[in-house]
């Protein structure tokens, strides 16, 4: 019974891929399923088009910076929220999910106003900063969850053995939070890499990959979009693989939390 259910869910998740991949190697010049013949031409077109490559690099840059910023802000924030003795600070923890609740379009318009004044529109790092707002909740929620189950006596033990608080956290606490941290970094990266709405408002002429894909659909619908999608899925898959490799149990924590 459960097996059947799992099978159905899995098929539901995989089905888009089963359509997208054949289309990406289609010989037809338009989106047709099933494809009439085989060709790598859409991958070639992607690789030979500087517009696509620039967009990809920009997205990787933005997602990387977003991950760094979200982790750099989110991890210390989680310590403050979880460890504080003040009740109102711990209550703030509930607010950490606020950026997820606020409609992205509202956030986009607001940030557009701010960024245009700061002349950040069209800069990949501007997009990265905006994406950090969205990625921060993932980092805070995952890190806090990991931190709450961590035995604080270990930090005390480390301090008693001669470690400063910073060293104790760096050498004792963070290594044990690795599954949570790796999951958080993964989600931060993917949430930025895949984000469209903010990018539409903020990336201007220097498009991120999702924006470029969107424009492609609007203007010239050809199977390049399918090829890009497959490559994007592959990249996320590689990230997932790395997550599994470097954070034993990270995937499980990502899913269960």
């Amino acid at each position: 019974m459960l097996t059947v259910f799992v099978g159905i869910v899995f098929a539901f998740l995989m089905l888009p891929l089963l359509v997208v991949f054949p289309i990406s190697i289609s010989s037809a010049a338009y989106l047709q399923f099933p494809p009439p013949g085989f060709s790598w031409q859409w991958y070639q077109r992607y690789l030979n088009d500087p517009g696509w490559i620039d967009a990809t690099i920009r997205s990787v840059q933005a997602a990387s910076l977003c991950t760094v910023l979200a982790m750099g802000l989110g991890v210390p924030l989680s310590f403050a929220l979880v460890r504080s003795r003040r009740r109102w600070v711990r209550a703030l923890d509930r607010l950490a999910a606020a950026p997820i609740i606020v409609p992205t379009i509202i956030l986009s318009i607001a940030l557009y106003g701010v960024f245009s004044r700061l002349q950040l529109i069209g800069a990949w790092y501007g997009v990265a900063v905006a994406h950090t707002v969205l990625a921060l909740p993932f980092v805070v929620i995952l890190t806090s969850a990991g931190l709450r189950t961590f035995d604080e006596a270990q930090e005390q033990a480390a301090a008693g053995l001669g470690a400063s608080w910073f060293i104790a956290v760096w050498r004792i606490t963070l290594p044990q939070l690795r599954p949570s941290l790796v999951s958080a970094a993964f989600l931060a990266f993917v949430s930025s890499f895949d984000e469209l709405v903010l990018a539409m408002f903020l990336s201007g002429a220097s498009m991120t990959l999702p924006k470029k894909m969107f424009d492609n659909i609007m203007m010239e619908v050809d199977p390049t979009i399918a090829a890009v999608s497959v490559l994007q899925i592959l990249l996320v898959g590689v990230c997932l693989g790395l997550t599994a490799l470097f954070g034993r149990g990270a995937l499980a924590t990502t899913i269960s939390r």
Binding site: D151, A153, Q154, Q156, A157, A158, A159, G160, L161, G162, A163, S164, I167, R171, I172, P175, Q176
Partner: protein
């Protein structure tokens, strides 16, 4: 090194965890703080370790006042209740940690880790992770880590709590031998009175954030300073009576010839001091009673006896193969004790 604790007060909100604690440990002494859970003993340990700041009072190590010194600069080794081993580090890395924090050169670290692990007989397991060890082995790793850097003081917070009885007894003696060999001043915390009696040079009995009595195990056992100590340490019969000058009248037993100021008095009579039947003949104080319950304990038997016209008392009689079996339930027995086996519990 000498430890001196003076007038320590610690409050958490409205509750007073420590209400003015004074304690002195001589160099190399093993002192146990014995008390029920919630008596404040762990709080006292945390104050000594530096994890809690006292609201009043001073902590001195040797000549140095360390009250304001942070835990990492106190040079105090501590074994936590759940050991607090670092699960992601191997046994050797755990033990090396305090030396790395002190920036010792690598060869010295390697040498001292090897020595410390040899001391607790765990040299062969240095590459294992804590979760691959048994509870007793983890406990010894924690001990090695606490002593490897030559601490000025060793603190042990109920380190045997999670271990089974047999293992616990072995480790108690092992810890004691190690402590003697290293000459480490040691503050040990437990709620297990037997453990306290086995291990300590002196015992400090703690109750409601205060020390009721500090003394050698035999002294605290034989001459408890308060009713609480008498009741908490070992099994006891606390006989309530009325003192009149040179004797205390105890219902059922009659006058017990001990010196005690007039008024209501409490006498401590250990179960093993109570004699039965033939052995009761000729003793100062005698009574008859009916056996309510007999419990066989191997080396001895424990009898609950309702004294005629008096309280219910507990007697412990030694068992040898040659002795007849103890009286069964419902039997009537003669019982008695010598006046010198009785201790008058001070009123306070």
């Amino acid at each position: 090194m000498r430890l001196s604790v003076q007038g320590i007060v610690k409050r958490f909100g409205a509750t007073t965890a420590l209400g003015g604690v004074d304690l002195d440990l001589a160099e190399g002494e093993f002192l146990t703080i014995l008390g029920p859970s919630g008596s404040g003993k762990t709080t006292l340990l945390k104050v000594v370790a530096g994890f809690e700041a006292p609201d009043a009072g001073r902590v001195r190590l040797g000549e140095e006042d360390v009250t304001e010194v942070s835990p990492r600069q106190r040079d105090v080794g501590m074994v936590f209740q759940n050991y607090a081993l670092f699960p992601h580090l191997t046994v050797a890395q755990n033990v090396a940690f305090p030396l790395e924090m002190r920036r010792r050169p690598k060869p010295e670290i390697a040498k001292r880790v090897t020595e410390a692990l040899a001391l607790v007989e765990l040299g062969a397991l240095s590459g294992r992770l804590p979760r691959q060890l048994s509870g007793g082995q983890q406990q010894r790793v924690a001990l090695a880590r606490a002593v490897v850097f030559g601490p000025r003081l060793l603190l042990l917070d109920e380190p045997f709590g999670a271990l089974d009885r047999k293992l616990r007894e072995g480790l108690q003696l092992e810890v004691r031998r190690l402590q003697r060999r290293l000459g480490l001043t040691t503050l040990f915390i437990t709620h297990d009175q037997e453990e306290a009696l086995v291990m300590s040079d002196r015992i400090a009995v703690m109750n409601h954030g205060r020390l009721d009595q500090v003394g050698a195990p035999a002294e605290v056992y034989a001459r408890p300073a308060t009713r609480f100590v008498a009741d908490f340490l070992g099994e006891s019969n606390l006989l309530e009576g009325e003192a009149r000058g040179d004797a205390v009248a105890v219902p059922g037993f009659g006058p017990v010839p001990v010196a005690c100021p007039p008024g209501p008095a409490t006498l401590l009579l250990r179960p093993e001091a109570l004699r039965l039947d033939a052995k009761a003949a000729g003793l100062d104080c005698r009574a008859t009673g009916r056996v309510v319950e007999t419990i066989f304990l191997g080396l001895s038997a424990k009898l609950r006896i309702r004294v005629e016209g008096g309280p219910e008392v507990l007697a412990r009689v030694p068992l040898r193969p040659s002795t007849p079996p103890p009286a069964g339930e419902g039997a009537t027995v003669a019982l008695g004790f010598a006046a010198e086996d009785v201790h008058v519990v001070p009123r306070g």
